[in-house]
């Protein structure tokens, strides 16, 4: 028997690590992966609550999140490839031409 709180804390920890990755990494691919980690953490919380309330809605939401994540990855990676083709570099810190 595991208290739900543990799952919630785990989800929070994973989410925070993902957010940290987004903030500190310069490689857009790793940033992207960190975002996937954050989504995953959210999914874990959904499923945990779904179990707790004995309802399918949480699971179905996770299903949609996975579908959307797949689409997002497809388009996102295509964008990164296109950026690389244009700039021959994918360091996110060098993509700063839009500044005040």
């Amino acid at each position: 028997m595991v208290p739900v709180d543990y799952y919630i804390i785990l989800s929070a920890v994973l989410f925070t690590i993902g957010a940290l990755g987004v903030l500190i990494r310069r490689n857009p691919l790793i940033i992207f992966m960190s975002i996937e980690l954050m989504l995953n953490a959210a999914n874990l919380a959904f499923v945990a609550f779904s179990r707790m309330y004995d309802s399918f809605n949480g699971q179905i939401f996770v299903f949609f999140v996975i579908a959307v994540a797949a689409a997002e990855v497809a388009v996102g990676l295509a964008l990164i490839v296109e950026i690389f083709k244009t700039k021959k570099n994918i360091n996110i810190d060098e993509m700063n031409s839009l500044k005040g």
Binding site: M1, V2, P3, V4, D5, Y7, I8, I9, L10, A12, V13, L14, T16, I17, A19, L20, G21, L23, I24, R25, R26, N27, L29, I30, F32, M33, E36, L37, N40, N43, A45, V47, A48, S50, R51, F56, N57, Q59, I60, V62, F63, F64, I66, A67, A69, A70, A71, V73, A74, V75, L77, A78, L79, I80, V81, E82, F84, I90, N91, D93
Partner: protein, 174 residues
């Protein structure tokens, strides 16, 4: 301490470690592989939480399809590692401190607002899990039929978008 709790703790330790590894490794390929490990542990959590369909989707879509795509792109671009730069020097310490605050806040909020003191047990293996799956399918195709169909369109659009974005333009053609 029950056996379930031991499994949970071990798995969660592995998940957190994998996540840390993903974030901290210098090589992008390692990061991807750490992420796969993380996804797998999370999939096991799904099984423990009585969601076998989601667990399978997690393995096939995330750990399988998406991460393969990631690895493919990393290798295609040769972007395993980037040269070090020293822009935004204050980004890292700020990020860490904010992360700590965020962790504390989110955990507190989730626990206090959900008012959970319930315990979750692993699903009974003796029960036929197909019933569970059928019930979920009934919900998905009745109550959530429209979002489901919209999702299909979303996937189509993403597919077309990816192809259009990466299409190589022929010389002399705009």
């Amino acid at each position: 301490m029950t056996s379930e709790l031991i499994v949970f703790l071990v798995l969660s330790l592995a998940a957190v470690a994998a996540a840390f590894g993903m974030v901290s490794s210098r090589n992008a390929v390692y990061s991807a592989l750490f992420l796969v490990l993380n996804f797998v542990t999370v999939a096991i959590f799904y099984l423990l939480l009585g969601a076998p369909f989601i667990a399978m989707s997690q393995i096939t879509v995330y750990a399988g399809a998406i991460m393969v795509l990631f690895l493919f792109v990393i290798m295609l671009l040769g972007a395993e590692a980037l040269a070090p730069t020293n822009v935004l020097p204050w980004q890292r310490p700020l990020a860490f401190s904010l992360a700590v605050v965020l962790l504390i806040e989110s955990a507190y909020l989730l626990i206090s607002r959900a008012q959970t003191n319930a315990l979750i047990s692993a699903p009974d293996i003796t029960v036929n899990s197909m019933d569970n799956l059928r019930d979920m399918a009934m919900t998905l195709f009745h109550q959530f039929l429209l979002p489901f169909e919209v999702t299909s369109i979303l996937l189509l659009v993403a597919m077309v978008g990816a192809i259009v974005l990466t299409k190589r333009e022929k010389a002399g053609q705009k």
